[in-house]
């Protein structure tokens, strides 16, 4: 099935630290690093064990995002709801609005992983026609 049933809340790790410290972090095995801002990193792995060279860094479990996977065949439909152009090649990471909702998107050759603040996931599901939950 190309379109997901619905967005699911994910467990990840959030790190806020000085940019230089985040630059040095390597992705843990099986995890992905998403640089949300120069001082803000999202590790797609729950309770990721990473060394952060900043004694004041904030390292927190992150349960604030929901995610869904869309196959490549779904990309045109998603693109039609986006004022920013999707990367033409993956892997690539992008942030912007989709259907008027702020999202983070991890593009691969085979599709895209869309992350949305969990508190807004129901709106994005409705706007993308995901699942059957009325808004």
């Amino acid at each position: 099935m190309s379109a997901p049933d619905r967005f699911e809340r994910i467990e990840a790790t959030r790190i806020v630290a000085v940019p230089g410290a985040l630059d040095e972090i390597e992705a843990p095995f099986g995890g992905h690093l998403l640089r949300l801002a120069p001082d803000d990193l999202l590790v797609l792995q729950p309770q990721a064990r990473v060394d952060v060279a900043d004694r004041y860094a904030i390292v927190e479990s992150e349960a604030g995002f929901s995610a869904a996977w869309f196959d490549r065949s779904e990309l045109p439909r998603l693109q039609a709801l986006s004022a920013w152009e999707f990367p033409r090649r993956g892997p690539a990471f992008a942030q912007g609005h989709l259907g008027g909702i702020p999202v983070k998107a991890l593009f691969y050759e085979s599709g895209v992983l869309v992350l949305v603040p969990a508190v807004l996931a129901h709106h994005l599901e409705e706007r993308l026609g995901v699942g059957d939950r009325p808004e």
């Binding site: 806020v16 904030i58 909702i101 508190v119 706007r127």
Partner: protein
């Protein structure tokens, strides 16, 4: 009421506009597509009008021998004469509307405005306007020769080209910085984002201005050519100026003087330029070829925008017509040549002033008909003509549904406990940008669970912001008017947030974790702004801090009531529960929580902050474990009643945009003996001024007045109520209200809605705070 919604799925058809190197057949679509089965009809004002393949409504109606439209028809979307009401939607051009079986069409009334559509035709989710966004390299607007050449050239270079042509049902209505083009298509509205826009919209024909120019049966040269090619019989045709190609006609000699007829043109009068002799030409149709000018509204809209260029006729110049002598200049606003002379004689000599004083050029055709003539008129008066006006979006009449297409209603956030609230029968309401449970259906039960037992409340919406770094303490000292340095780890403090003018715009808690790390809370509605504001100041001061907003990531459940401690002791280490205004990290029901002991309800309260992914487990465990204690959740309806009994303010409800801490009675939350903080100078200044109003507590025996109810003292205005409730525990109404100084004093007794109320100290309930500290 008109409801504006949008369609969930965009029309996939629009993606077909993107071409790379497909066959050029796309360009050939110069006429709208339509039903082509023989024998089909449209309903034109009750008459069944047959149509043929390729017909527009204009073509079909004229072919049927009807002449419902007065004025010189252009058949190209420029003039305002063929406007129709189509299926209840007015200001639709018949020349741009393909005939479709069964469509109901009416022409606009000649003596007024068309009626608004009935509410039954308002857009709905099911009948909304489609919407899509497209990304490409180049957008070419107009598919005349220049447009086709530009598109072909771009395609040869491998660029992704989107082409628009109004005659093919893809009409650009706006060009914006970016560049970005917005178009109306048959599938809905489309926003196109590109690197380059080529405007190739061609030219617009000059319309005749003379007596009789509002008669039916007058056509521009190109309109006549198109209509004859489509098989429309024009009868006896007389042409003025450049003759039409492919149209049998009698050319009229000399310049145009007037059209003559009753309703429909019957004769064309011209004057010989050399002899001055006037000639009359009987006719059924008059065709005028008076030259053309650039169809440059979109080009003028895009003036100065990088990435936008004009090609072909649109970049050309206007064949300025002769100075008009008489007749209607602007049919949209019914401006005559006499009107132009009138405003001229009153001193309006500039083009812009003439436009504004007569409204010429502000109607449905946006100056396509009148502006060449107005420019000639101004030039004849010796005035220097300014460049053409910058045009503003949109260039064509669009419906409210089309204007709203692609725009979404405000997104309300939901907490992780949304489904639990619904399962408990909650009525959800919007509050501070969130959907929150207003009540679970039994306010009495909710209230007394708090006051005499134990209750839980979803307070996940509260702002929660972590601040860490070597400058964290000094940053917060400058942010807040309260002292932060004395706050020990594990303790919390109530704080106001002031803007630079010393006005309160938020409040919350500062919780200290260690020497360099804090958790800040903010109001549900104000959290987003507060976070930006905090970051701005930290950046401005060059503070070495890290800031992370946890509002959407952490859930928070308030456990409140005299038996709250008893409930929590069943689910965790009771010995670790913090004292009043303390906080600690501990497990509750196996869920890692930051437990904060504070109170908004006036009873012992613990807030359990935790990962939102575990909210549901924690909530359900609290409900199950507290069943024998009578635990029951309360919604914000009861929460507002509880907090009001304690006299707690709600910033944004009880406060005003100019509320200083002193006016709110919160002067105690400001320490002027500390260092600088945001708003300090303003607080120092306003502190030297007399208080002109004060937020006070009032009570009355009768039912509570409405929020906003007026306070009167000696018959005069003395303020208004901001919050009010009937207190179940006190047996009287309590309220907060702004009370103004009258005769140099604050009255103790006021009238509200004609009923007496008296000023009392707050809190109304448990003024010593014994219950929250128990």
């Amino acid at each position: 009421m008109i409801t504006i919604t949008k369609r969930v799925f965009p029309p996939r058809s629009a993606t077909r506009f993107i071409r790379k190197t497909e066959a050029p057949s796309f360009f050939r679509a110069t006429l709208p597509t339509c039903d082509d089965a023989p024998g089909k009809v449209i309903d034109f004002e009750g008459t069944q009008v047959p149509f043929e393949k390729g017909d527009t409504v204009l073509t079909a109606v004229l072919r049927a021998g009807m002449r419902p439209w007065r004025g010189c028809l252009c058949a190209d979307g420029d003039c305002p004469y063929c406007l129709i009401t189509l299926e209840g939607i007015s200001y639709v051009r018949a020349c741009r509307t393909p005939a479709v079986e069964g469509m109901k069409v009416e022409s606009h009334p000649s003596d007024g405005y068309p009626a608004l559509p009935p509410s039954s035709q308002a857009p709905t989710r099911e009948r909304g306007v489609g919407f899509e966004m497209i990304h490409c390299d180049i957008v070419v607007i107009g598919l005349g020769r220049s447009g086709r050449e530009a598109a072909a050239e771009a395609e040869e270079r491998g660029r992704r080209v989107v082409t628009l042509d109004a005659r093919a049902g893809r009409e650009a209505v706006g060009v914006y910085p970016g560049p970005e083009v917005v178009a109306r298509t048959r599938g809905g509205m489309v926003r196109m984002f590109c690197e380059e826009v080529v405007v190739a919209t061609g030219s617009v024909e000059v319309q005749p201005v003379c007596p009789g120019n509002q008669l039916a049966g007058i056509l521009t040269k190109r309109a006549a050519e198109r209509l004859v090619a489509a098989g429309v019989e024009l009868g006896r045709v007389v042409s003025v100026g450049v003759p039409p190609d492919g149209v049998e006609h009698e050319p009229a000699r000399g310049g145009l003087v007037r059209f003559v007829g009753e309703g429909t043109v019957q004769r064309v009068a011209t004057v010989d330029d050399e002899t001055g002799a006037e000639h009359a030409y009987p006719c059924d149709t008059a065709v005028v070829g008076l030259g053309s000018g650039p169809r440059d509204t979109l080009a003028r809209m895009a003036q100065g925008l990088p990435g936008v260029r004009s090609v072909g006729s649109v970049a050309g110049h206007l064949d300025r017509p002769p100075v008009p002598e008489a007749g209607v200049v602007c049919p949209c606003s019914e401006v005559t040549v006499d009107d132009l002379r009138s405003v001229w004689n009153r001193g309006f000599h500039e083009l812009e002033l003439i436009k504004r004083s007569t409204l010429a050029g502000t109607g449905a055709c946006q100056g396509a008909v009148c502006m060449p003539h107005v420019r000639s008129f101004v030039a004849a008066g010796g005035q220097e003509l300014p460049p053409s006006f910058t045009a503003r979006p949109v260039v064509a009449q669009i419906t409210m549904g089309e204007a709203a297409a692609g725009w979404y209603h405000h997104a309300d956030r939901r907490t992780a406990l949304h489904d639990e609230h619904l399962a408990l029968g909650a009525r959800m309401e919007r509050s501070g940008g969130w959907l929150r449970p207003w009540t679970y259906g039994d306010a009495d039960r909710e209230y007394w669970a708090v006051r005499s037992g134990v209750s839980i409340c979803d307070v996940s919406t509260l702002g929660k912001i972590l601040v860490s770094g070597p400058d964290a303490e000094s940053c917060l000292e400058r942010i807040y008017p309260a002292t932060i340095a004395p706050l020990r780890p594990g303790r919390a403090k109530y704080v106001l947030v002031l803007d630079e003018r010393g006005y309160v715009f938020d409040d919350g808690l500062v919780c200290r974790d260690d020497a360099n790390r804090f958790l800040l809370t903010a109001t549900s509605a104000g959290a987003g702004y507060f976070e930006m504001w905090l970051r701005d100041w930290a950046d401005a001061w060059g503070m070495d801090v890290r800031i992370l907003d946890r509002t959407a990531s952490w859930g928070a459940i308030s456990v409140t009531g005299p038996r709250s401690g008893e409930l929590l002791s069943r689910l965790g280490d009771a010995g670790r529960l913090p004292s009043f205004m303390g906080h600690t990290e501990m497990e509750v029901a196996g869920v890692a929580c930051r437990v904060m002991r504070l109170s908004f309800t006036g009873e012992i309260s613990y807030e359990l902050h935790h990962q939102a992914s575990q909210s549901r487990d924690l909530w359900c465990t609290l409900m199950e474990s507290g069943a024998d204690l009578g635990v029951w959740p309360h919604g914000i309806e009861v929460l507002e009643e509880l907090r009001l009994e304690k006299g707690h303010i709600l910033v944004g409800v009880d406060s005003l945009p100019d509320s200083t801490p002193r006016r709110l009675g919160h002067g105690w939350a400001v320490r002027m003996d500390k260092g600088d903080f945001v708003g300090r100078l303003a607080v120092a200044r306003t502190s030297r001024m007399d208080l002109d109003k004060l937020l006070v507590g009032l009570e009355m025996e009768a039912d509570p007045p409405r929020k906003g109810a007026i306070l009167r003292v000696k018959g005069g205005y003395a303020g208004f109520v901001t919050s009010s409730t009937w207190s179940r525990v006190l047996g009287r109404s309590v309220m907060l209200a702004w009370l103004y100084v009258r005769d140099g004093e604050y009255a103790d007794d006021v009238l509200i809605e004609g009923r007496p109320a008296r000023r009392v100290a707050v809190p109304f309930y448990d003024p010593e705070g014994l219950r929250v500290r128990a």
